[in-house]
């Protein structure tokens, strides 16, 4: 059960402002998601190794060779606001 306090805590970490109705809804949805995960607990998993990945592949590595970056105009095209060739954002220190 994900209670109201936990929803608010996670929202604070993500800098999200939620209305009371949203907190209520998230509490239900997140509880539902964790419920699915808990179903796994009903299985007999003795002797099954924990896994971090679904495919049996290792070492997908890349040679250390540079390729062109994107042009800055294209990069900054996605910015909500641009200033001094950078992404302008509300100050996190404010």
């Amino acid at each position: 059960m994900i209670d109201r306090e936990q929803v608010l805590h996670v929202a604070r970490l993500a800098r999200l402002e939620l209305s009371d109705a949203e907190v209520e809804r998230m509490s239900g949805e997140l509880t539902g998601i964790l419920g699915h995960i808990e179903k796994i607990g009903e299985l007999d998993l003795d002797g099954v190794c924990p896994t971090s990945h679904v495919v049996e592949v290792t070492n997908k590595l890349r040679a250390d060779e540079p390729r062109p970056s994107w042009p800055r105009e294209k990069i900054l095209g996605a910015a909500p606001a641009v200033r001094d060739d950078g992404f302008e954002v509300p100050s996190p220190q404010a």
Partner: protein, 464 residues
């Protein structure tokens, strides 16, 4: 009054000197214009997938080997979630419970772990300019975002600010000689945080620790730790409790200020990075890394000390890899490892232009009193210019020490006669006046007289 001792652990972030970023093929940035070294991967655009830089793994393994760490067979990446504008994905790809290396030691400090991660973007905070009334903004430059980082965490083995500085200097030199980073603290390629607590001397438990962040010079590290130890000691002596928090040391004011509440900031909700498959360290990867690890400063200094070089000189040589390599070539022909080491250190630049064996021979000639210390530089200059056998150069240039006491005795007698005032002063007990006599003898002999021998003769002549 109870006395307290500091308990200090260090966390060091090292930017790796690879050609490209950790998870994309953007070239690393060295002061390029903002946002010119970016792509969908390092900007965290939807659908972009990271791919691990093989060189970063190799450098990580080299660092693990240099620190005598246990290298993992298998290692995975985790997402470390935090929301901040220096990080476009809202998580940093880092390592959690399966790091590349665990344990280890460098000098007198044990290593806890070594792991790989990616650097964050640079934020430039700008004050209010009037666009939105009353608001401040930050400008984000993503060039640095995704630069490969190695984080090295020590055990809390450091007992003083001085030890922290000295150990970090050894670590920096080790990383420099590994050639895995340019270790330039002023440019942020080597950054250090310190976890600091105090406890009554004799106790083995730990007090509450604070984290002193991002100190970017050895001097600041030493002063910052000192200031924090004093601050904690005053709190505890005053009956208060140290609060666990993240702190900033301002080197201009020597003041320590709190950065943010640590508890919440550290709720990172790590989970395995689903976009990256595990790393399995293959024997070939270990071979490649091992072949690239040279003899490192700590091992080199120990070897020199065992050969008879003083601890200080051994360390100084080991910190100068190129000079040390020349010293290694000189060592087999050196009569005295210490004297030859000192000669290399005193005449560093000049000695580097002379055949290493010849530097040892020059040192040997001084040891055998065939050459005075005052003429060493002249001999080295000739050897640097045209090479040759040091003994021949000494002979042909007439730079050999005067071996004949009878000859030297005559010169000393002349010097005393020519400097009667000084002779009188010496007789009266003013030994400083002997400088005038020695100066005279050295001029007459072109520096070929042994200073000690001249002093002995002067005293004998004056009946002292």
């Amino acid at each position: 009054m109870t006395s307290f001792e500091p308990v200090i652990g260090l966390e060091i972030h090292v930017q790796l000197d690879t050609a490209t970023k950790m998870f994309c093929s953007c070239a690393l940035s060295f002061g390029e214009p903002p946002n010119t070294r970016c792509c969908p991967v390092c900007l965290g655009l939807p659908g972009a997938l990271p791919v691990v830089n093989a060189k970063a793994i190799e450098y990580g393994l080299m660092i693990g080997m240099a620190l005598e760490s246990e290298l993992a067979d298998r290692s995975i990446f985790h997402r470390k979630n935090y929301f901040y504008p220096d990080n476009p994905k809202a998580y940093q790809i880092s390592q959690y419970d399966e790091p590349l290396c665990r344990g280890g030691r460098l000098g007198d400090v044990r290593i806890h772990r070594v792991h790989l991660e990616e650097d964050a973007a640079k934020l430039i905070h700008v004050g209010e300019t009037g666009r939105i009334h009353g608001s401040d903004t930050s400008i984000v430059d993503f060039n640095r975002c995704g630069t490969p980082l190695v984080e090295i965490v020590t055990e809390p083995d450091v007992k003083s600010a001085e030890q922290a500085r000295e150990w970090l200097q050894l670590l920096r030199e080790t990383l420099r000689q590994l050639e895995v980073s340019d270790v330039d603290m002023s440019q942020g390629s080597l950054r250090c945080d310190a976890n600091i607590s105090i406890r009554p001397v004799g106790e083995t438990g730990f007090g509450t620790k604070t984290e002193l962040k991002n100190m970017n010079s050895f001097a600041f590290i030493e002063r910052g730790i000192k200031a924090e130890v004093i601050r904690q000691t005053e709190i505890v002596r005053g009956g208060g409790d140290v609060i666990q928090e993240t702190l900033h040391f301002d080197p201009r004011t020597e003041r320590i200020t709190s950065l943010r509440s640590k508890e919440e900031a550290h709720d990172y909700r790590y989970f395995p990075e689903p976009d990256l498959v595990p790393i399995r360290i293959a024997p070939e990867m270990l071979d490649t890394a091992r072949a690239a690890v040279p003899e490192l400063p700590a091992a080199r200094a120990a070897r020199y000390e065992a050969a008879g070089v003083s601890a200080d000189n051994a360390k100084d040589l080991a910190f100068r890899a190129e000079l040390a390599a020349r010293f290694d070539d000189a060592l087999p022909v050196a009569d005295s490892a210490q004297a030859t080491a000192a000669l290399f250190l005193n005449q560093g630049e000049l000695a580097a232009e002379v055949e290493p064996e010849s530097v040892a021979t020059v040192s040997n000639l001084v040891g055998a009193k065939a050459l005075t210390p005052g003429n060493v530089r002249a001999v080295l200059e000739i050897l640097a210019e045209r090479g040759g056998d040091p003994a021949d150069v000494v002979a042909s240039e007439g730079l050999g020490a005067i071996a004949d006491d009878g000859q030297l005795e005559g010169i000393v007698e002349d010097a005393l006669a020519a400097n009667a005032d000084a002779a009188e002063k010496i007789r009266g007990g003013n030994m400083k006046a002997i400088g005038a006599i020695i100066g005279h003898v050295m001029r007459e002999t072109k520096g070929r007289a042994d200073g000690g021998e001249v002093t002995r003769l002067v005293r004998a002549k004056l009946g002292l």
